[in-house]
């Protein structure tokens, strides 16, 4: 076996994933930072409907304005709670926003241009699962128990207006900070994807990836462990597109942005452990059903 050639090809695949993903990562970061500035204070939230379904639906769509992954959305969810948005609504936003936004749609399409149904699965099932979980939570008799701290957290104190040069510097620093945080996770995810491609024989991957149930379990576990940012996880999934079933890839793309190690830790900063366990179970069951269902329907 030519290990040198294999290692060199591994480096090419690893850098290929990063180079392809970085423009989407930066785009997401820049738009999110710009919108975070635009939505400071009460601006931008007064239009939210008050009814149960209307509120949940509009918060599902709010992700279209925040094209970032989990870590960027938790502060926004906290802000929603402090502004009086129902707890279920904040959770719906947190589950849907990482995947249901234009940058993720774009990057998923770039990765799966030859299989665009994957983009539709991702957006459609994310919407349905987030809305379903929100509806379940909205019937909770004591919604405040779902929060980490009983009662609503105090609203953050807003900074005073900075000078233009200072504002530009803050913007650049905040964008680079978020970029660095997410790129570090992407580097780890890209390395794992490149290593499995180079080291694990194709026959083994096909064995794991073609079972209608096993493939879904493997890819969902992979999503939890990898915790790759949703704007670029489609490029990681692409590494498995020729060996894993469509249902398992869809489950990875739907489940990963909602539940992974990073997002669970971040959710715990706003919601109670009980609420986080409940949501994790509901989303896991739903994503599993989606993956297995697609595999059986596609046969």
């Amino acid at each position: 076996m030519n290990w040198l050639g294999r290692a060199q090809d591994g480096v090419t695949i690893f850098l290929g994933i990063l180079i392809e993903a970085i423009p989407f990562l930066l785009l997401g970061v820049l738009v999110s930072q710009a919108l975070a500035l635009a939505l400071r204070g009460d601006r931008g939230l007064s239009w939210l409907p008050r009814g149960r379904l209307g509120s949940l639906l509009s918060l599902t769509g709010l992700g279209m304005l925040f094209p970032v992954c989990e870590c960027g959305n938790v502060p926004v969810a906290r802000r929603l709670v402090t502004r009086g948005v129902p707890v279920a609504g904040a959770m719906v936003f947190l589950l849907s926003a990482p995947a249901l936004n234009p940058v993720v749609a774009l990057s998923s399409y770039a990765a799966f241009r030859d299989n665009p149904a994957m983009v539709a699965y991702r957006l459609g099932f994310t919407f349905l699962i987030a809305l379903g979980v929100g509806l379940v939570l909205s019937f909770h008799p004591h919604p405040d128990e779902l929060l980490r701290h009983r009662g609503r957290p105090p609203a953050p104190v807003e900074a005073t207006s900075p000078t233009p040069a200072g504002a530009l510097r803050r913007f650049a620093a905040a964008a680079l900070s978020e970029f660095g945080e997410m790129a570090a996770v992407l580097v780890v995810g890209g390395a794992v994807a490149a290593l499995t491609q180079m080291l694990v024989p194709r026959g083994v991957l096909l064995g794991l990836g073609q079972g209608p149930v096993l493939s879904v379990v493997v890819m969902m576990a992979f999503a939890v462990v990898l915790s790759v940012c949703s704007t670029v996880d489609a490029f990681v999934a692409l590494a498995y597109a020729s060996t894993f079933s469509d249902g398992s890839l869809a489950a990875f793309l739907v489940y990963g942005p909602m539940i992974d190690i990073k997002s669970i830790l971040l959710m715990l900063t706003v919601f109670s452990p009980k609420a986080v366990v409940l949501v994790t179970l509901l989303v896991t069951e739903a994503a599993f059903l989606v993956g297995v269902g697609l595999n059986y329907l596609g046969r």
Binding site: L15, I22, P75
Partner: protein, 246 residues
């Protein structure tokens, strides 16, 4: 100033611009994404430069509480040293090693197939027309997918280039002239190849780049009829700047 933040912006931006200037981005990604990648490099360098030179604004910073999941004031914090070490890893590889397109190791790992392009929709509309000399390896594979009868290729002139690939499935005295087809980036590269029967049985070295000119013929091999290129010439060439097909 936060040196780590400046380094993240300048380091990643400089690497993307370096790969663009060196013409090696096509080893990693589909050419469609080369310009957006170069622009991304320039924006990252600009963000790093702004962090380095723009004056710090003291007003209001202390009043802003740190958001969950972030290290407080981003102009002072930035990634941890562990994150920086992780972030430096691809830059060390990118700047430190010569850029190289995928080679025969990946072709062997993924398996070179004659008809692997299962999702190419135009396959059903493609027919070998009267001037096939300009066809790439991908065009020929698409043609074979549209019309699997090897007899329909007989006598058609071929002029293709690619790297030499052999494995246990390739008959003695034959080789495949192969290329990778890339949809998005190197991670999805699919190797495809056309069989060539070396005229005097001398097969070029594995991985060497060659230009093959000849005509298609059909021969009995291992109990089946197979289309194979009977070459008039097999010429060594330099690796092309764009080694993949798209």
């Amino acid at each position: 100033m936060s040196p780590p933040l400046v380094l993240v912006g300048l380091g990643y931006g400089a690497y993307l611009l370096y790969a663009y200037a060196a013409g090696t981005l096509s080893f990693y990604i589909n050419p469609t994404y080369i310009i957006p990648t170069a622009v991304t490099g320039a924006v990252l360098v600009a963000l790093g430069a702004i962090c380095a030179v723009a004056p710090r604004d003291r007003r209001g910073l202390e009043a802003q509480p740190p958001p969950a999941g972030h290290a407080g004031d981003p102009t002072r914090g930035g990634p941890s040293w562990l994150a920086l070490a992780v972030l430096a890893f691809p830059l060390v590889l990118g700047f430190g090693l010569p850029a190289r397109p995928l080679g025969i190791s990946t072709a062997a790992q993924r398996g070179v197939e004659a008809v692997p392009l299962g999702r190419i929709d135009e396959a059903f509309e493609f027919r070998v027309n009267s001037r096939p000399e300009g066809y790439s390896i991908k065009d020929w594979v698409t043609a074979m997918q549209a019309d699997p009868d090897p007899g329909s290729l007989v006598g058609k002139p071929v002029r293709v280039s690619g790297f030499v690939y052999r494995d246990s499935r390739v008959p003695d005295g034959w080789f495949l002239v192969a290329r990778f087809v890339v949809q998005c980036c190197a991670v999805d590269a699919t190797p495809i190849g056309l069989p060539v029967r070396a005229a005097d049985g001398s097969v070029p070295k594995d991985g060497a780049w060659v230009a093959v000119e000849g005509v298609w013929e059909v021969t009995e091999v291992r109990g089946g009829r197979k289309a194979v290129i009977a070459p008039a010439s097999v010429t060594p060439i330099a690796r092309p700047d764009q080694p993949y097909l798209y």
